[in-house]
């Protein structure tokens, strides 16, 4: 991971080759994250382009307090939220239809069918999908996610709990 930080340091010195390398290594990852939020390829590509322009412009401001990928995804997230604001497509996590009272027992078997699980993840609200993505796929710590999303660590934990619960619920519903 330190290579990414080194690339950003070089980008801060206007090194285009480093920029191309960074793009090659991370674009798929960042694009996947954005696409998970906006669910639209054209919009996701626009946001991806904006993100990397911001990375180029802001490389000299990157102080290495967070991981490079956390920083890039943070930029992508801010741009995606701007898009949401423009489209007024904010969802309220509290009244999302996926959350219902039901059996909250842990059944890992429900997750075992990858196809169902993928379908379930696609159906999750963007906030729930995002938190699972950041915590379990990117492997960011709760502290890192807390900084990235500007929410308290406890809220991150609660959101992860609700996201898992919603996902289990969706998988249950699909099986019924």
């Amino acid at each position: 991971m330190a290579e990414l930080e080194a690339l950003i340091d070089r980008i801060a010195l206007n090194d285009r080759e480093a920029f191309a390398q960074l793009y090659n290594v991370t674009n798929r990852r960042v694009y996947f994250y954005i696409l998970g939020l906006v669910k639209d390829e054209t919009v996701a590509q626009d946001i991806l382009a904006d993100t990397f322009v911001e990375v180029w412009k802001g490389a000299s401001r990157f102080e290495g307090r967070s991981k490079a990928l956390t920083w890039i995804i943070g930029i992508a997230r801010n741009l995606a939220l701007k898009f949401f604001k423009k489209r007024k497509r904010f969802e309220n996590i509290d009244d999302h239809h996926e959350l219902r009272n039901g059996n909250s027992e842990e059944f890992a078997e429900r997750f075992a069918d990858i196809e169902d699980l993928k379908a379930g993840l696609e159906k999750l609200s963007w906030k729930h999908r995002e938190i699972l993505h950041l915590a379990f796929y990117e492997g960011f710590t709760y502290e890192e996610i807390s900084k990235m999303l500007s929410i308290p660590v406890n809220t991150v934990k609660t959101r992860v709990f609700h996201a898992r619960k919603a996902l289990r619920q969706l998988l249950d519903n699909d099986k019924d």
Partner: protein
Amino acid sequence: MGNEHNKEKHPLMATSSEGLKEDNGSEIQEQETFYLQRAFQEMEKEISLPSEEIFERICNRIVIEEQERPVKENVKKTQGPGTRLFEWLRGLFSSPGLAWGLCGAQAIVFVFAFLVLNSGKPSFETMTYGQNSGHNQVFNVIFKKNVKFGDVVSFLQKHHMKIINGPLGKDLFVIEIEKEKDLERIKKSGILEFMGQAY
């Protein structure tokens, strides 16, 4: 599903989720996490990569921004001191903070001017203002509130009096009265609320 999937993890992906470590370490949750990672991994593989054109677009935008930046810097460098001063003043006066500051300063000046102009000096003067002959008696008078202008004029003419100052505070007028006039009669005319010797 087995642990062989771990081998297929994305090179950027952490070997184990730190989020999980901070959650709870139950075996079931670990399994769930594993499947989640697996699902995300597959989903990422399934998406079509952003086109080459995107990177070109990014590079073009960067080039344009870079071209604009030196132009701005060069313009600053080639400007003479007069132009720079003008630019500085233009920037200064176009700032909202200064605009509001000037508004406040103007308001203070208006209020101050209003107070100064209204302090002690009458808001209007009679034609006889300041025409004190020095031979007659001078009195401070206050006319009754309900007295009409015409009555005041008739009263002054009848007794050959003239206003030499006023209105001052509390609508006080200074009038000059001929020495031989009957002051008691004037006092009881019903027009005056107050009448007293001025010194």
